[in-house]
Assembly symmetry: C2
Homo-oligomer: 178 residues x 2
Amino acid sequence: MDMEKVNSMGFSEFVDVFGNVIEKCPLVAAAVWSQRPFSGSEDLEKHFFDFIDALPRSGQEGILRCHPDLAGRDLQQGTLTAESLREQSQAGLTSLDADDRLRLQKLNAQYRERFGFPFVLAARLSDRAEVPQELARRLRCQPESELRTALGEVKKICHLRMADLLGADAARVEPLRG
Amino acid sequence: MDMEKVNSMGFSEFVDVFGNVIEKCPLVAAAVWSQRPFSGSEDLEKHFFDFIDALPRSGQEGILRCHPDLAGRDLQQGTLTAESLREQSQAGLTSLDADDRLRLQKLNAQYRERFGFPFVLAARLSDRAEVPQELARRLRCQPESELRTALGEVKKICHLRMADLLGADAARVEPLRG
């Protein structure tokens, strides 16, 4: 999909296509449509990131709270979004054995209790062995820096989902990990 | 549901319950949870309204763009939210004849073209005769005042949905219409 096509979209089509690049927050895509035309995929992405960065802290926490736990309730109940199911599946999180699932659920619960939002991670850049290690590590971080880290993961997820839609080179995300 | 119960909710339960009082914008409820405890239903509602009022203009337009057309595509395709289907049904918009539906679709298209967001109306406070009249009237308004009017309708919808959830007296919305 090229940028000419994106810039020609009415808001309904734009929200249909980009409404879940920020998990369960079509409001962000619906707001970003106001900023068209976009000069390219980086410009488009920058408007999503700018919108998130300009939100008050409660709004930024709100974006995180719209994300599901990894290997959590929504996966068990079949209520994950298509994008999240694919990402968790690619990371091997949909086929954990009972012990690993329980371990992750306990860590998720501790994280939610400590920070007031769920543990958010770009699962496609991780795997089933790394996820609980990273969760345990971030559980020890300070709330201020953890909010920034978690929003950084939201942006990585957004970047990868947008690359899927635009056909851009998803490998470009790797430097963002460092 | 009393406020003690609301204040005891974790964010997942809170978003499950209040996530659609602003149509398709669970982000707002997820942000408002940061402001607990709430002293009562008016205080809770005020936090939703304050969040909307504090958004940049693109975000306010974004909230409007998350709303479906009345008697539009989502109704035809069966993709309305449960709340919107009930409201449109109560206003008689789910049983329009073909001529009335076509008339409304044309007006909706003109409105979207003129303002860059869909026509939003608290359908439960209207009926199938009033809706096209009000749409035709608002189509002639200035963009600045129409944005304010439309956000006022979002707040009426929010108030009525919240009253359904909290069991408050929904009749209290009437003075807001004037």
